[in-house]
Symmetry: C2
Amino acid sequence: MLDKTDMRILEELTNNSRITMKELGEKVHLTGQAASERVVKLENSGVIEGYTIDLNQTKLGYAIYAFITIFTQSANHQPYLSFIKSQEPYIIHNYKISGEGCYLLECRFPSNEALNDFLIALNEHANYKLSIVIDK
Amino acid sequence: MLDKTDMRILEELTNNSRITMKELGEKVHLTGQAASERVVKLENSGVIEGYTIDLNQTKLGYAIYAFITIFTQSANHQPYLSFIKSQEPYIIHNYKISGEGCYLLECRFPSNEALNDFLIALNEHANYKLSIVIDK
DNA sequence: CTATTTGACTTAATTAATGAAAGGATTTTA
DNA sequence: TAAAATCCTTTCATTAATTAAGTCAAATAG
């Protein structure tokens, strides 16, 4: 279903999703129009889910990047899930996992103080293990 | 340094990084040119690190999405890091962390068999805890 | 085996967006 | 008060995207 040209298109768009269709076409040896048609197909088939940006969290004021493994206290996860929804700017992803814990939280905080406050509030609903990202 | 308009621009670009500068301007009540100038500044200051796409890993042939906590066996991490570099398509991010383990691997595999082969090879360099993503 | 359909691409023409230059308005700085 | 800087707008030339029409080769049907 996806041929080599499609894969190269996905690679180029992963590196720079704002590239013009003309440039993209040149890179994969197609006209801009042909490249554009392929991209539309990749969108419609759901392979490309969206176009987004990579942000420097530190420069945005989020000095701390962390993963938190969640162990919910009760079998009912709703209180935890509602809590997470209320913590908007801090939460990047809440992965439901199998393995150790029930969820893996990818998140960010402006300061140790904000992280600490978050953990105190989190502890109302769940136990956790904290992993702070040092690099990459 | 970043005002409300900048934040709205980042929000819009996070939702759709291929939006035209004209449309982006309309959304934040600026002309296309003014919006474009702000975006250039956000790029130059390093707040925007790049433009990329969200891919459906399943439709790309990667049915399994996982996080693996790594416990390196020796104090020398080089063998592990070299191994990771050799596993190109499977590895999405290798986060160096403080907390439980030395690294947190975000990765994907086409099948349980590929995952199993990877884990066997990984075990030459490190112990691990596997968390498979079920949702989101 | 030939005719038709289909898919992927190109070319051409129109429409729209980008980029560069000039200038206005407001705030900062001296 | 004057000069400089910042942020924005307008205009226009350049460049890209979009739409429509048409080519070509491979697959499919009669």
